[in-house]
């Protein structure tokens, strides 16, 4: 049996959020107090919803069409960002954005999956599903960062690498594999932040490094719950069960030792108060970069290697 959708659950919150948005644009003299009261109401409602949240709800929240995307974070946190395009091999993949910008007064390379907001933009960005060119562009920018000693920050938000004919012809698997091997050797700090969907190998290819954060209501999975339900349960209505079994929430991944820390989201989720979400990300990202930049590079690479070396659960008999 499937639980009610998250979009049902959040309806009263969205209504309050709409009232906040309206107030913000108004010249009501008491708007500050009114907004504050509405936010408190959202918090109260959210406290009732949180205990009911299932893994499937979190998957829906992570995919929420209003959720902030990579370029929203970059716009909020980065100064003088310049996007750099193309893999110098075949094409520019709009499903991954990459470039340089100032963060806390220092040049940093930013790379992230990018989804579209409007129908047209969604299609142009292939719903955030990269082709091999996207991964090769990401690697090119990582190497550029290495050459000029800039740390790398990545934002992860993809349903997965695109399953298409051209993607296979141009070596989707090779592109992902090469990124993983080259990330293992990259001589600059790498911070990864899962902001929405962490869809399998397509997420991993730009989603590993030295410190890995997940937003509270993002997920990271070896396969989509829909794909898993189709294969193992042979039943699309088993998505709830698949999501539950896959242990794909930020809390699950923290417990499994895969991620380093959870970045809390505002009541209602990132899309209800993007500004607060950006502040939370900022508050976690700045000290993480600082800590990594203070490490000698050999030590950093050794720590990176050890981090992945110990991942996995097995027994010796």
């Amino acid at each position: 049996m499937n639980s009610v959708d998250f979009y049902q659950l959040e309806k009263p919150i969205l209504e309050l959020k709409e009232r906040i948005d309206k107030l913000e644009g108004s010249d009501d003299p008491r708007k500050k107090d009114k907004i504050q009261a509405l936010r408190e109401e959202i918090s109260r409602l959210w406290e009732e919803i949180v205990p009911q949240l299932t893994a499937k709800h979190i998957v829906q929240l992570a995919r929420h069409p209003q959720r902030p995307y990579t370029l929203d974070y970059i716009q909020a946190l980065v100064e003088d960002f310049i996007e750099l395009h193309g893999d110098r091999r075949f094409a520019d993949d709009p499903a991954i954005v990459a470039g340089l910008g100032f963060y806390k007064g220092r040049t940093v390379a930013f790379i992230g999956h990018q989804k579209g907001r409007t129908t047209r933009e969604r299609i142009a960005r292939n719903f955030g599903q990269p082709n091999p060119e996207g991964y090769r562009k990401a690697l090119r920018i990582m190497k550029l960062a290495e050459k000029f000693h800039f740390p790398v920050v990545t934002f992860i938000d993809t349903p997965g690498a695109y399953p298409g004919i051209g993607a296979e012809e141009r070596g989707q698997a090779e592109a992902i594999a090469t990124n993983l091997r080259e990330i293992a050797k990259l001589k600059v700090p790498i911070v990864n932040i899962v902001i929405g969907e962490g869809g399998s190998g397509g997420a991993l290819a730009i989603g590993v490094g030295d410190i890995m954060f997940m937003l509270e209501y993002s997920f990271y999975s070896v396969i989509s719950p829909e794909g898993c339900a189709a294969i193992l349960w042979k039943d699309q209505s088993a998505v709830d069960k698949a999501a539950e079994n896959l242990k794909l929430t930020a809390r699950d991944l923290l417990a499994l030792g895969i991620i380093d820390k959870i970045i809390p989201e505002p009541p209602g989720g990132a899309h209800i108060d993007p500004e607060q979400t950006f502040r939370q990300v900022d508050r976690h990202l700045a000290p993480a970069l600082k800590k990594l930049e203070e490490m000698p590079i050999e030590e950093l690479l050794l720590a990176r290697h050890r981090k992945f070396r110990k991942m996995g659960v097995f027994s010796l008999k």
Binding site: Y220, I231, L256, G312
Partner: protein, 264 residues
């Protein structure tokens, strides 16, 4: 049909089983390459009596408490009984044409050769062994991809194995990857595509996404031969497609070149 006879999956002709076995599990009539069990692979390639199996004591766990129609722990037991292996991979050290190598071979009969923590650990260990002993590494892949029942832990094995291979890469230790039918998903997107030389057997299905997923996504019929070894060769993804009967001699010649070991 008694179990002395079988039908070729490709040409559909009825064949005497022993004829296929004597022909390295290749159809003598149409050259179709049947899947080979992992232990059999080692015996076909390494010098007789030269090898010992290693890391046989590594067993899978059920860290997520995963349960679909069957609990994962029960599924593991079932597959362990079926294959008498601990998980979907075996590894060995030995010689090939007198050249010391370390080798890992995936077993498709064990949960479709899926990669969970044990496969990741054993691939990592053979890479580390090759690094320490400074001997070439050969991995024979045969896998449907990452193992869903171990969730994100399986996904992380892509990085774990790639990270281990990065060390070999830096040290200049040769790694030969052999892709057999089928090699898809997380295994292709990690160690299988990272060889200094990547070769495949004729007709092997190789890709990232499975053909069914692609068909459902693009809602088109796939071109003939799509994702087959010959298709990948034509698209520059493989160094060569090597017939099974030539595989051992190919590997010996290749390793001699990599090791700069001229012999006449």
């Amino acid at each position: 049909m008694t179990n002395l006879w079988t039908r070729c999956n490709n040409c559909q002709r009825i064949l005497y089983k022993q004829d296929i076995i004597d022909n390295l599990y290749v159809c003598p009539l149409c050259n179709f390459h049947f899947r080979v069990e992992a232990r059999e692979r080692v015996a076909m390639l390494l010098d007789p009596g030269s090898y010992t199996f290693i890391d046989e004591n590594i067993y899978p766990e059920d860290p997520l408490g995963f349960e679909d129609s069957l609990p994962y722990s029960a599924r593991l037991r079932e597959n362990q009984e079926k294959t008498s292996l601990a998980d979907a991979i075996i590894s060995a050290v030995g010689t090939i044409g007198g050249i010391p190598v370390v080798m890992a071979v995936m077993e498709f009969n064990f949960m479709g050769g899926s990669m969970g923590s044990v496969v990741g650990e054993k691939v990592t260990r053979v890479a580390e062994r090759a690094l320490v002993e400074k001997i070439p590494l050969i991995i024979i892949s045969c896998s449907g991809g990452a193992r869903m029942q171990e969730g994100a832990l399986s996904l992380m094995q892509l990085m774990k194995t790639s990270s281990a291979l990065a060390k070999l890469d830096e040290a200049g230790i040769p790694y030969i990857s052999i892709l057999t039918d089928p090699t898809t998903g997380g295994v292709t997107a990690s160690f299988a595509m990272l060889g200094d030389v990547n070769i495949a057997e004729p007709g092997a299905l190789i890709g990232f996404a499975g053909p069914r997923v692609i068909e459902q996504t693009i809602k088109e019929k796939l071109p003939k031969g799509f994702q087959r070894a010959e298709f990948l060769l034509a698209h520059g993804m493989l160094d060569d497609v090597v017939h099974r009967k030539n595989l051992r001699s190919y590997l010996i010649r290749l390793l001699r070149l990599f090791l700069n070991r001229y012999e006449k």
